[in-house]
Amino acid sequence: MSLLHLAVISPLLLALLIPFLHKHFRKIHTGWFLLPLPAVLFGYFLQFISVTRQGDTVMETIPWISSLGIDFTVKVDGLGLLFALLITGIGALVVLYSIYYLSPEKEKLNTFYIYLLLFMGAMLGVVLSDNLIVLYAFWELTSFSSFLLIGYWNHRERSRYGAQKSMLITVFGGLSMFGGILLLNSITGTFSITETIAMSNEVVNHPLFTATLILFLLGAFTKSAQFPFHIWLPDAMEAPTPVSAYLHSATMVKAGIYMVARMTPVFAHSGTWVWLVAGIGIITLFWGSFSAVKQVDLKAILAFSTVSQLGMIMSLLGAGAAALHYGTIQDGYYIVAVTAAVFHLINHATFKGSLFMVTGIIDHETGTRDIRKLGGLMNFMPITFTLAIIGTFSMAGIPPFNGFLSKEMFFTGMLRIAEMDIFSFDTWGILFPIIAWTASVFTFLYSMIYVFKTFTGKYQPEKLDKKPHEAPVGMLIPPVILASLAVIIGIYPDVISGRLISPALRSILPALLDDSKAYEVHIYHWHGFTPELFMTIGVIAVGILLYKTLTKWTGVYRAFPEKLALNRFYDSGLEKLELGSLNITRGYMTGFIRTYLVYIFTFFVLALGVTLFYRNAFALDFSDVAPIRFFEVVLVAIMAISAITILFAKSRLTSIILLGSVGYTVALFFVIFRAPDLALTQLVIETVSVALFLLAFYHLPQINRKEEHMRFKLGNLLVSIGVGVIVTMIALSAHSNKSFKSISEYYVENTYKKAGGENMVNVILVDFRGFDTMFEIAVLGIAALGIFAMIRLRLTRGKE
């Protein structure tokens, strides 16, 4: 096990220790034990920058299930490292923040931190695994730890709802991706991502390519809350705010982005990929920002904003993938889009992380997140206000914050897309910049709503539970760090461009950027009077206009039919699933044994009948039959008549007697077919059975057949005739297909010679097949025990 592996699973290992730490150091907030870990890991991963900057990678392998090609391979390359740094860096800040946010008296800190560590480890595993199966395992672990974190306050109905929803949707995606992984594996024969990328040509030309691609994208889209799977994210806001800041803005939701970026080299050669990723991304962008505007809960605004920002990154990745489709860099023509994606990924983590923390502070200090109750907080919490301004302005794409830079690049990418000629991009491509711009307007709008509705306007103390004041320092440090990052990156973007962005790009577009000099990222503040600049100015202008006239046009949202809301669709879908299943199940599981038997017998008749017919198996061969003798016919007649008469018997006694007569006739058959042992046994057994019948049925009421209707009888008759016919037909065919001599000859020869007996049947019973007999008497013994217990042991319900 290398140090790298240890780094990946160290959060999981620490999670095991948490219960002990929590139990024995009650006085210390459990979070303090956690804090060093992400910090140290962050430092550890920083070292790798020098490696990835050279275009090198580090790879370590521990064999796991090598027979299936599943090994725990950790690979650090530009993309993985970028994410690892995000996870550990923001992780450290979130842990610090949580120490002040969660009260050790009121909350179960041990479970909280176990979940958090599980998540952190899982996330590191996702971004650093080179083996798809291991990646998938960690992927599901993120879903589960997210489920647990969302349901942390599980006494709340909404928490449970949100947890279930997020789990269902993300696990659905995970399974789809698993299917994709397996399909991919059946094409390439490997689970290693590195090897798969090397084989991307074969993948693209495989007939199953599109299916594989879609399955992978389902995984990525659900995790990254892309339209229409985004509905889980707003409900996930039931989690404690540190969790939202960490999982639902900075890391987990980015796992989908990671996946798309990671698989771009494999899939991006096809236009489908470009279309789907860019298309879904842009729709998500628009829908998220559009929906965010109508929210009144600060966290909900941020949730929809996250959805929309993720859509933006996704669409950029899709647009950039075209570079691979064309197989050339073309002067960074499409690479700008990928660069923007990676860049915005970082930016989003900074400003959204800080905004979530700000929201947490507001919630913590005022007791509400409802913007209708808030207002004028500027005076009470100036630092928080400053942080919020930085965060929202960056989010809205206002210079000089980092969001502005990536937004500019985003417009560039979208404008480029319109010029592509994949599928129908030449005709529909023009929609991309238009939607992008519209969405940016809404982004601007909700950013303004967030900051100004909360911090400016009228202070409404009567609606608040407590008097607001500035948050404790510990709680402010993490958002301050993030906000300053947003500013620093905004001013000096090249701090990260060479160290983080270029190596990541190299991982996303390996074939194009093998030569490390091929493309160096440089981010400029000023491009000249480009269309992008005018678009930004337009966004701000229209945004301000819309903000001022907010009350006049929000009716638009009410016009949107509630019935078509995706949430409604999910809820009713789930309800219908349960109810429908219940109805279906109740429909056939009637509890009537007769129904079950009808199903069984019908299946018996149909399956065998169809097989007989379809395989043309029915055969009739008279050559090998014993002659029929008179008294045999008589016996057959007696038996048939007795059996059929039972059907019409009206009294229980008659039925039993007729059954007995069938049994005795069977014994006679045994006589004429030369089976003396059988005849003896059958006679005695039949007698005992009849006696038992009489004993048992002495207590049962007379047969009442009046309740049986004609249709009922007719159905039964049909089924029974079918059964009889099938049994006969197979018997005839089986008899006519005798292909081998029975092994019985051996018994005839050896019964005396080797077993020292003369009665073959008996010798078979006690010697050749004595084992059968032993367990046959065991069956009898068990039956006796059962009968004894059944009659003697009578538990009443209370004793159960």
Binding site: F631, V634, I638, S642, T645, L653, T654, I657, L658, S661, Y664, L668, V671, I672, R674, P676, A679, L680, L683, V684, T687, V690, A691, L694, L695, Y698
Partner: protein
């Protein structure tokens, strides 16, 4: 000749059995049925004897005694059932 006799006898007994079965089915009382069943049991003895003769084997002769025993036990059980409604009493000395 001998075989012919056997066949005739088989026919006789077969006919007899059919008659007895008729009685079993018809009743009218349970006692009638029991009587007929008893007779069937006894006739079965004859049938088995005849079959043994026809098949020229002594393998089935044990069955004869067996049927006799069973028929007897059966009849006793039946008649007790008829008479008392129970077949086995737990304690006869008591007022069962």
């Amino acid at each position: 000749m001998f075989e012919a006799i056997l066949w005739i006898s088989v026919t006789f007994i077969s006919l007899a059995m059919i008659g007895l079965i008729f009685r079993v089915i018809k009743g009218p009382t349970v006692a009638d049925r029991v009587v007929a069943l008893d007779a069937i049991g006894i006739s079965l003895v004859s049938v088995v004897a005849l079959v043994s003769l026809l098949l020229e084997t002594s393998a089935f002769l044990d069955i004869i005694l067996l049927i006799g025993i069973l028929a007897f036990i059966g009849t006793v059980a039946f008649s007790k059932y008829l008479e008392k409604g129970v077949i086995m009493e737990y304690d006869r000395s008591g007022n069962s």
